[in-house]
Every structure is written in structure tokens, then in C-alpha cells.
Assembly symmetry: C2
């Protein structure tokens, strides 16, 4: 290491997507290494609408490892951060930038402190898998910075130690987290089943549901389920392995009926296991139930599934429409049942890909008020104003990317401090 040039800052910025599981991860067989009790499968969401951007930097001038999340400094002392940092430093390789006169040898990385700045383009606390995108981005960007030779799957096994579902955010499209057999977790990693172009008809609408309930964190929730649910092991050993095979096939064949049937059933079974936990865990609320009942009714009335739904550890509904036409109808129907509060602007009520709104012929609140009741609803069509905070329209998306444009960096290239 060129000790004399103590004022340089080496920096990498990356963007990583979030993901939503369609075959759920619920339960660890090893709490420290974050090894799951079953495989899981997810869809990566378009980072244009939901992603984490992270800038990581090293400099001989840094005196501590430090991190800022959404402009606020947070502690890196947690085991999960420490595990990721240690695993990456262990694999760091020689690096040289002759132009800048920077040379870092493998052994030097141990002594260099990092600065990390991370930003979510969506509300962190809304239950939208921010920790998945966050840890994936942390690991991906640090791996680039420290010149790791590991492939994406090997990196996913590191991200897994930050947050289990983070390993699935290392790829775009459709991703499987293989639970693995190794006690040390070396084979518990993510692989891509298909990229985001494979099935690009799909449109995803997320309903961020208003909730006054304090929720059980997924970490403690799944620990309690493993300890107390008498159904969890049966699910993990007998039910999920078959569903994984069926889901892989459904994705490969773009078989929406099977995809939807499996995704809905598996989401419901995950919440059933939560309910079978002692004390029981309720992530879904009456609004979640209403959305499910409506989608189920619609699917039955059409004779085949048009929309799949899945819920993570919270009341938010993630709905996957088989194509754009169905998504347009879905958005109309959702806006009919769940209109915004009167003081809410449509522009801040439907986020993400607003072209779906346009296709639905909705330009303003007047169009929402004039939406006709969906034909298939049971009369009278009740409305639940204010029960949804906002909607996000998105689609399956790409995996992590490096952002070479320095203006996108979250740290100052001179000081290594947040901009």
C-alpha cells in the first residue's frame, strides 16, 4: 500500500434490486450462518422502482468502518454486518490503479477501513424487503471494490449472512435460493432460474397497506415458528420440495396458471405457519384478506388465474398480473375498492411505472371517482378509502449493476463522507 499517498479515496457505487419470494423462506436451521429449512424462489423487482443504491469507499485516511443509511449514520457493530465485512475482506484480492497511483495488496485490505452509504428509493419501513436489497448491494459493491474473484452465486452466500433473502437479490429475473447441505453454509446460495427477459409479460402491482399494528420482525418471527409451530417442519420437508420442482417448471414454461396457483398457496401456507406459532403471528390484516378474497373471486370467475398474490412479513400485497391488459384492469379495480384519502394526490398514490395508470385511462382523481364497480364483485360494492397507503407498479427486473457515473455516488470522492 502506498502509505505516502494517504489522501486517496477508492470508491464503487452499485444498484441492487429487491425481490419477492413466490415460494417462501420461513425458518432457519442455523441462526448464525442464516441457513434455511427449505429452498425458496423469488422474482426480482425492477430496480427502476424499488432498489438500493450503495457507495462503498476505502481510504487510508478513514479511521473506522462507518455506514450511513438514507443519510443517517447507523451502527456496523451488528453480527450480520460484521459477518459480511469479514467474509469479503477474507476474499479481497490485489488491486492496482496506476493512473491514480493506488496499489493495494491482498494483505492490506485488512487494515483499510470502509465507508458505506446506502439509499433506498422506497420507504425503508414499509415492509418491502429493504434489508434484502441492502445487504445484496453492500456485498456486491464491496466485492467490486475489493476486487473479489467470486461469481454472483458465491457472493450470494455472503449476502445470505447479512439477510437470508438478500442472496436472491444478486440476480435478476427468477431466482432460486438452494438451501444446501453443508454445515458451514458454503452451498446455501442463489442461482438464476431465468433472466428478466424470459417472461416479460408479467406486471407487478404492490399495495402498501396501512397498518397500525406493530409487527413482529421476520427474524424473531421465524425463530418462534421454528421453535413452536408443529406444522413448519412438515411444510419444509414434505410440501416445499415438491412445490419448488413445480414452480421451476411453471417459470420455465411461462405457465401462469401453475405459477399463480403455487405462489398463492405458498404465501397462504407461510402465513398459516405464522398463525400456528405460539404466540401466533399475524402479518396480514383485514385489508390483506379483502385483496386476497377479491383476487380469488376474479380468478374463479375467469376460469383461470389472471393475478397471483403473495404477502411477506407484513400486510402489503404483491400482485403479479399475467399481462399488461390484466394489470390495467387490476389497477382500475384496486383503485375502485381502495381509493386514496381525499387529501392524497393521485401522483403520490400510484408510484413506479405510471404508464399503467395511463393505459387504465386514469389521469386524475375524477377518473378514480368515476370508476365503475367491477362486474364480478358481490353487490353492494363496498369501498375502503384510506386502507391502502399507495400502490407501486413494477415488473420483473435486472440484477445488481455498477454505476460508473460518479454523480450517482453517495460519498464525496475527495473526502469519502456522505455528499
Amino acid at each position: 500500500m502506498a502509505e505516502e499517498t494517504g489522501n486517496w479515496v477508492l470508491m464503487v457505487t452499485a444498484q441492487t434490486p429487491t425481490n419477492i419470494a413466490v415460494i417462501k423462506y420461513w425458518g432457519k436451521r442455523d441462526e448464525t450462518l442464516i441457513l434455511p429449512v427449505n429452498d425458496s424462489i423469488s422474482v426480482t423487482l425492477d430496480p427502476d422502482h424499488l432498489c438500493t443504491t450503495t457507495t462503498v469507499a476505502v481510504s487510508p485516511s478513514f479511521v473506522n468502518d462507518r455506514m450511513w443509511l438514507n443519510d443517517k449514520e447507523i451502527s456496523l457493530s451488528g453480527r450480520r454486518f460484521q459477518n459480511c465485512l469479514r467474509e469479503i475482506r477474507n476474499r479481497a484480492c490485489d488491486f492496482e490503479d496506476k493512473q491514480k497511483g493506488i496499489k493495494i495488496e491482498k494483505k492490506d485490505w485488512e487494515k483499510l477501513h470502509v465507508h458505506i452509504a446506502s439509499y433506498n428509493n422506497f420507504p425503508t419501513a414499509a415492509g418491502l424487503a429493504s434489508s434484502a436489497a441492502g445487504f445484496a448491494c453492500l456485498v456486491f459493491s464491496l466485492a467490486k471494490l475489493m476486487n473479489l474473484r467470486e461469481d454472483q452465486s458465491q457472493l450470494s452466500a455472503i449476502a445470505r449472512q447479512g439477510s437470508g433473502s438478500a442472496c436472491r437479490s444478486l440476480f435478476g429475473g427468477f431466482v432460486k435460493w438452494i438451501m444446501g447441505k453443508d454445515e458451514k453454509g458454503s452451498d446455501s446460495l442463489a442461482v438464476q432460474l431465468a433472466d428478466e427477459e424470459h417472461w416479460n409479460d408479467l406486471v407487478i402491482i404492490i399495495a402498501v397497506v396501512s397498518s397500525r399494528q406493530k409487527e413482529t420482525s421476520s427474524t424473531s418471527g421465524m425463530r418462534e415458528s421454528v421453535e413452536t409451530s408443529l406444522l413448519l417442519q412438515h411444510r419444509a420437508k414434505e410440501v416445499v420440495p415438491k412445490r419448488i420442482v413445480q414452480m421451476e417448471k411453471a417459470i420455465k414454461n411461462r405457465d401462469f396458471s401453475s405459477f399463480a396457483q403455487l405462489a398463492c398457496a405458498d404465501s397462504n401456507q407461510f402465513h398459516a405457519v405464522c398463525l400456528d406459532t405460539s404466540p401466533p403471528i399475524f402479518y396480514m390484516n383485514d385489508t390483506s384478506h379483502r385483496i386476497i378474497s377479491y383476487v380469488e373471486k376474479w380468478n374463479r370467475s375467469e376460469g383461470s388465474p389472471q393475478v397471483a398474490y403473495t404477502f411477506d412479513a407484513g400486510p402489503n400485497a404483491v400482485m403479479i398480473a399475467r399481462n399488461r391488459k390484466v394489470a390495467t384492469q387490476l389497477l382500475q379495480r384496486l383503485l375502485f375498492f381502495f381509493p386514496p384519502n381525499s387529501d392524497t394526490d393521485l401522483n403520490s398514490y400510484v408510484l413506479g411505472d405510471k404508464s399503467i395508470l395511463h393505459d387504465a385511462g386514469i389521469e386524475g382523481m375524477k377518473d378514480v371517482e368515476e370508476l365503475p364497480p367491477p362486474e364480478i364483485n358481490t353487490a353492494p360494492a363496498q369501498k375502503y378509502q384510506g386502507d391502502v397507503s399507495y400502490f407501486i407498479c413494477t415488473r420483473p427486473g435486472r440484477g445488481p449493476v455498477l454505476l460508473s457515473d460518479e454523480s450517482k455516488a453517495l460519498l464525496n470522492p475527495e473526502t469519502g463522507m456522505p455528499k
Copy 2:
């Protein structure tokens, strides 16, 4: 049969309790005979507060079998009614009342029509097991009328064919429905585990929860669970048999901690199986969840269970307090969180054993308004006015009884028509 005396009416009136399962019945192995996939255990509720009264009559003057429920004539053509009537007529015995000059031989019963009038002292549609009390009372009163020699367990196997859980209403106290092995159902019947005096500390408070949702009937719900839930068979075969043994022991030893832990876990698991059904069935709503969360928090804060909860196929909470002191506290806390709407009179908001209200020092709405927030609640203590329709205070109660007082009969002794 004394054909010439065609104007006599022979009549029996009985009162039968309802019951609440603490190890749940969910799923039939035979739809027609109503044979369950597992044993279940229930507590019989005091008929003073929740019961069905039924008068049955025969007369040579009756030209059809007819039935009135809550003063309204209903059809007896359904399979369940027909099965019960047929099974009882098959077992009818010689009868003679010398005083009235009535003599009916075994073979005559076939030709005699019955009139049946039934009345619930609680709202029929409120999800309070009205069909259990109803079919139990129908079978019990007809058996007395037709002079059957069968014991209560044998009668329970007939009531079972009207409504599964009805078989458990043939006894007071604590009752087990043994699933049986016989294909024909002869050994699928109820037995008493302990009478109502065995554990008379227990106090039961029912919260009848307001609901706008149309609910899935338990008959179709359990059929759909059997057909689609991948967890139901595991529950029935692996989980329930062990719980039955533990619950019998808990009841025998009046071990409230085990009783409560088992009852709560089994209620939650039954609802988990409902959620694992396709399409999913939601019986509990946000109010039900709030009651569970509150009771769980209370039990944890006390270090041992004070209150058990259990929910049937609807949002109503049945809470079992370990003793009267706890019940008094429970009622105060429930009234704090769920005060009645301002136009509701306290007297119609707390039904059943009103002495608990008195013990709680609550004489009027002013006392409800002045209730302090429970110490163990997380601040701020939110109130949910109007989310509960009313409460019923009751206790474990006796089995079916005959009412000899003719003024209690629901049919006119001269005409055999509703009074």
C-alpha cells in the same frame, strides 16, 4: 295405536346446551355419516345463557313432519334432519300412557308424524354453535318422546349425523368426541370426561365480534380444507392425537396452564389450516387478532396463563378465565378496549351472568368510560368502539335436561301447533 283417539298429542320438551371445542374438529372422513378426521374435546356452556329449547310432539292428527325454528317454519327435507329422524324412528320403543289412554307400539312410530318447535336463547346467526345445540336437542327430545333405550353416547352418535359438533352437546362439563374406526360410524360418539362441577372455577366470556364479511359455512369450509390443505392430514394424524391425551390430562388435573396453552395453540392451528386451504378461509378478523394479542400479552406478563381463547368458524372470541377474579379483570379490560357504541345500553352489551359486571364495579356506561387503561398494555392504549357487538358471561354447564313444566313447551298441548 288407539286409532279411535285421534285427537291426542304426546309431547316432550327439552333444553340442550351449546359447546365450544378446545381441541378442534375440522375435516370429515365421511361427509354423509359425518365422521371426523380426528378426536375433539369441548366445554359445554351453561344453558342458562346459551341453549336450545325444543318441544317435539306426535299425534295421529298430524299429516306431515313439520318444524319451526325461532317461530318460523323451516324445511325438514334436508339430509341431516332426515338422517336423525330415521335413526330415531328405527330405535323407537313401545310406549304407553294409561292415564291419557295412549298406547304406541314400536311399529306404529313409523306412521306417526312429528311436530318440532325449537328456540335459541341467543342469536342464531351469530356463530355460536346454534346447530350443535339444535341437533342435540332435537335428538334428545325425540329419543325421550319415542322411548328410546339408548344411552347418551349412543344418542350422540345420532346427533352427530345432524351436525358433527352436536354430539358433544349431549353431555355437560368436558366432553370428548371419539372419532371412531367403524366405517358405518357406530363408534364415532361423545363421552363425558368430567362433569360441570369438576372444574367450576372457570368463567367464560364470549365476545360477539361485529363482522361485515360473508363467512364460509363450516360444512363447505372443512370440505375445502380436506380437499386442498396440505397441512390438514398432518394435523389430524400427528398433532391432534397427542394434544387429546394432554388435554384430557389437563382437564383431569385442573391444570389451567396446560389447558390454556393447548386450547390456544389448537384454535390457532385450526385457523392456520383454514388459511392453508385454497382459496384460503379467513374466519378471524382484525378484532379477533387484537383480542388474541391482548390475551397473549397479559398471559406473558403474568408468567403463566390467566385466560385461554378459542375461535370457531367466525370472528367471535371465546375466552376462558382461570377463575372469577381473573374474569372480572378480563371483563374490565375488554370493556376498556371495546366500549359499546354510544347508543348501546350496557344491559344489552353484557349478557349472561351479569354478576361479573357487578364484581367489576361496573353499574353503568359512566363506569365503562372511567375504566383505567390496563397497566400491561403498550402505550397509547387505543380503543376500538363498536368492534364488539356484545359480550356474554357464562361458565361450564350441564347437559340436556327434560323440562316437565308444560308452560315451557313451545307447542300447544291440544293442537300440537306453535304457541
